[in-house]
């Protein structure tokens, strides 16, 4: 089979941060290549280079033997490299009808003249819609369509360019299993027509169904290429997550007193219910791929979402939080993922960021006691060795790792019954990661600590017990003294077999 796109030695840095360290791979015409990689592995940077959003620093790309260096996204598309981005709404204009959406590029380029020719538009659009199996009338506004149909619209838009290389970035992340099947049929027919397809996904069921080849990425490098049938899925997951055995030695605790127990919890309709108990003094890491339900679990524990079925107990009490306020009052804290949008108050200094959830403690009759805030903040800053000038620094002046320390310190400073940390090591340098992990373990004695991570290294570094989530349910448990890595990886990669129905829940982040 002929090589459609060849990438050799691509490197890319943003400021001093090197994101891609020399990427080499080929896409063959008429083949589906699946690209896997954890968050921050560099997948989206690579896609943006291929689709002309970013320019690469060094390295070469060629398209069917011709040198390929797209200057802009439309340049890439005209040359036949077409990308359907992850967020569906980036691919469609919801308020316009299907016909206008499909022909948006022609409209924008001015080739269609000043006046709209509705009937010509409609017939051209209908033709495009037919190629992707979209059956709605071209006059339907896109916001009335289901997610699957919207996805088809954005793919049909891609088809208007007659792609030779089609890049699909997590196209099924918001589709149900049935909707995804329609997409797979389309991909099969494109493959048969000789289109080279780069398919980015975390869903094992998709990968099994489609992949001719798997390329795993880790830390800005290609960490494995798998092409012999049957494809070695756990090998690919292993290559993407790595298993660097660290010198940090955990003396695994298993506590006696249950701090929180979940019974028969179903996170999304149609997934298998599960039980979970975390004892006092224990640090439990819950791992799983993107979309496996980690954030959905955090949402349920913190009162941001209600479980579909099941009950929770906190100590001996029933626990059913309706709001984050309820959860905090019950001593259940959540340090959310993605600090920039979910945790940091950019206008505030370090002290004010630290005390935000517990201001009641620093005020009398609503009147703030700023000196006690100050003293408290200074002690947290010292305890977590935050690098800063003073507690009065604006939080924006700190590095990512130090910002994360502040965000974690906000919740560590008060005694809690259950502390949940969602991806606390995301975008954090190794030193800050060690500091935070150490602080988590040292302070864990009187509470249950639940850490949600997708990187296995992080789980092994911090936890007494590691639980594996897949498809919104628990699929494995390991004690951190003698972890069977092969079984763990197989569980992380476990596909649809745990699904109770064909409806996949749409995973939303807190």
């Amino acid at each position: 089979m002929s090589t459609a796109l060849r990438v050799t030695g691509i490197q890319k840095s943003f400021a001093s941060n090197r994101v891609l360290h020399g990427i080499d791979f080929d896409l063959a015409a008429g083949e589906v290549t699946v690209l896997m990689g954890a968050n921050g592995a560099g997948k989206s940077t690579l896609v943006k280079i291929l689709s002309g959003v970013h320019a690469h620093d060094s390295g070469l790309m060629s398209l069917f033997g011709e040198p390929f260096a797209p200057a802009t996204p439309s340049d890439a598309m005209e040359k036949g490299v077409v990308t359907v981005h992850q967020s569906i709404n980036e691919g469609v204009v919801p308020d316009l009808d299907i016909a206008s959406n499909l022909l948006l590029e022609t409209l924008a380029s001015g080739a269609s003249g000043f006046w709209l020719n509705r009937s010509a538009m409609r017939s051209k659009a209908a033709e495009l819609a037919k190629t992707v199996g979209l059956h709605a009338s071209p006059d339907t506004p896109v916001h009335e369509l289901s997610l699957a149909d919207r996805q088809l619209v954005s793919i049909a838009r891609a088809m208007a360019y007659e792609p030779r290389v089609l890049i699909l970035d997590e196209p099924t992340s918001s589709l149900s299993a049935m909707e995804a099947d329609r997409l797979f049929d389309l991909i099969d027919s494109l493959r048969a027509q000789g289109v080279a397809i780069l398919y980015i996904s975390h869903r094992m069921s998709d990968i099994k169904r489609l992949a001719d080849r798997i390329v795993s990425m880790r830390d800005g490098k290609i960490s494995g290429v798998f092409k012999d049938a049957p494809l070695n899925l756990s090998g690919a997951v292993n290559a993407m997550l790595g298993r660097v055995v660290d010198e940090t030695i955990i003396s695994a605790n298993t506590g006696q007193v249950p701090a929180i127990s979940l019974r028969g919890i179903t996170l999304t309709p149609g997934t298998r219910p599960f039980d979970l108990t975390v004892t006092e003094g224990e640090v439990v890491a819950i791992t799983g791929l993107v979309g496996s339900g980690k954030s959905a679990l955090a949402n349920v524990l913190f009162g941001l979402a209600q479980p579909v079925t099941g009950s929770m107990q906190l100590g001996q009490q029933d626990y059913r939080p309706r709001t984050p306020g309820d959860a905090i009052a019950a001593g259940v804290f959540l340090c959310p993922r993605d600090r920039t949008s979910n945790a940091i108050v950019p206008d505030f200094n370090l002290a004010h960021n630290l005390t935000l959830p517990f201001l009641r403690k620093y005020s009398r009759f609503s009147w703030l006691n700023q000196s006690s805030e100050q003293t408290h903040s200074e002690s947290v800053i010292q305890q977590l060795s935050v690098v800063c000038q003073s507690a009065e620094d604006n939080i924006g002046t700190l590095s990512g790792g130090n910002q994360q320390k502040i965000v974690v310190g906000r919740w560590l400073a008060e005694p809690s019954n259950v502390l949940i940390l969602d991806e606390p090591f995301q975008g954090v340098d190794i030193q800050a990661r060690r500091d935070i992990g150490e602080q988590l373990r040292n302070s864990a004695e009187h509470r249950a600590t639940i850490v949600l991570v997708s990187e296995l290294d992080e789980a092994l570094e911090v936890a007494d017990r590691i639980l594996v989530l897949a498809e919104h349910t628990l699929v494995g448990e390991h004690f951190n003294h003698d972890v069977d890595m092969d079984r763990l990886l197989a569980e992380v990669a476990s596909a649809n077999k745990v699904m109770a129905s064909e409806v996949t829940g749409h995973h939303s982040h807190a």
């Binding site: 979910n342 940091i344 950019p346 206008d347």
Partner: protein, 341 residues
């Protein structure tokens, strides 16, 4: 070497951001004192304060909604509704000043509640919700009198004659002046402004609630995840705004002594301008009570000075616009440079 000179530039920028606007204010006072005869006197000062008082009170209310990341376009119409309502209560219903005051405050609070409800529960964007409320109130205040002003002796739609009068106690709110150093020097409205400014300042900067409101304005999602009751604080901000606007309207009514349908056209724009100019004061780059008070004063001094120099009235809006644009430039371009260094 280059490091040293960038430091120098940076500290100069810092100085300009912090004190630029206050220096401009001072320079303006000096200029008008020299250029306009009679500007630098206690009576001119009182006149400025009085003209600023109502705008300032409304601007402080708008500041509270800006703090939570919202905006209240209905303040001007709440003030004029309060003006008409107080006149109606006393002249047509022949009720006491106390009844008028209580009803006006309730009307302001209710408007704020409805604004907050539209924004928080009905998910209407703040600008649209309060714009709608503005139209609603402008229309509503005209219905009872069929679009006419309210004064003692007017004929009502049903043919009867309104015999009530503004009570002297109510009129005193707009006309009484306290003796401070000089006899009949300090108007009540100025005292009310100063008290409200201090209260809002303390509330926003020194109480838990103010802090949480700023947190909401800076990152709503993070605040909600820290357990802050975001919806409740947003509603409170609009209620404060509505109540302060109704106070402004009552002071206007007390000064005019009648329910003048044509008054208060400029209130909304002037007070929004004052609150936005406040961003530039002391380099705050965010809504703040002290800045808003200075912003109102700035506009008041400018207009009084220009009037005393015989600048035609129709240039006033142009000058206000220029000052506003300048202040916004100060705030956003200079503080962006500070953050990017």
């Amino acid at each position: 070497m280059s490091n040293l000179s960038t430091n120098k530039t940076n500290s100069r920028i810092d100085f300009a951001i912090r004190y630029g606007f206050l220096i401009l204010l001072l320079g303006m006072v000096v200029f008008f004192s020299l250029a306009a005869e009679g500007f630098a006197g206690p009576h001119s000062a009182v006149f400025i304060f009085q003209s600023v008082a109502i705008t300032g009170i409304l601007a402080l209310g708008v500041t509270c909604t800006l703090v939570v990341g919202g905006f209240d376009l209905s303040i001007g119409s709440v003030a004029t509704s309060s003006l008409m309502l107080s006149a109606y209560v006393m002249v047509v219903w022949e009720q006491s000043a106390l009844v008028a005051i209580v009803l006006c405050l309730l009307m302001g609070a209710l408007t704020g509640l409805v604004n907050g409800w539209l924004i928080v529960r009905m998910r209407v964007p703040d600008l649209l919700a309060t714009l709608g409320m503005m139209f609603l109130l402008i229309g509503l205040q005209r219905i009872p009198t069929q679009g006419r002003s309210i004064a003692t002796g007017m004929t009502l739609p049903d043919g009867s004659v309104a015999n009530g009068t503004f009570s002297p106690a109510f009129l005193a709110l707009g006309r009484h002046r306290f003796d401070v150093f000089i006899e009949r020097f300090l108007p009540v409205s100025v005292v009310v402004l100063i008290i409200i400014a201090i209260l809002v300042f303390l509330f926003l900067n020194y109480t838990r609630h103010g802090r949480l409101m700023y947190a909401i304005g800076s990152n709503e999602r993070a605040s909600a995840l820290a357990g802050v009751r975001v919806d409740r604080y947003k509603v409170i901000a609009y209620v404060i705004s509505g109540v302060l606007a109704s106070i402004g309207g009552m002071l206007m009514s007390a000064r005019l002594g009648r329910g003048d349908i044509a008054s208060g056209n400029n209130l909304l724009l002037d007070s929004v301008a004052a609150a936005l100019i406040g961003y530039a004061v002391l380099g705050a780059a965010r809504p703040n009570a002290f800045g808003t008070a200075i912003g109102a004063l700035f506009v008041g001094i400018l207009l009084q000075g220009l009037t005393m120099m015989n600048a035609p009235y129709y240039t006033q809006d142009f000058v206000k616009g220029a000052v506003l644009v300048l202040a916004l430039m100060f705030t956003f371009s200079l503080s962006a440079r500070r953050h990017n260094r």
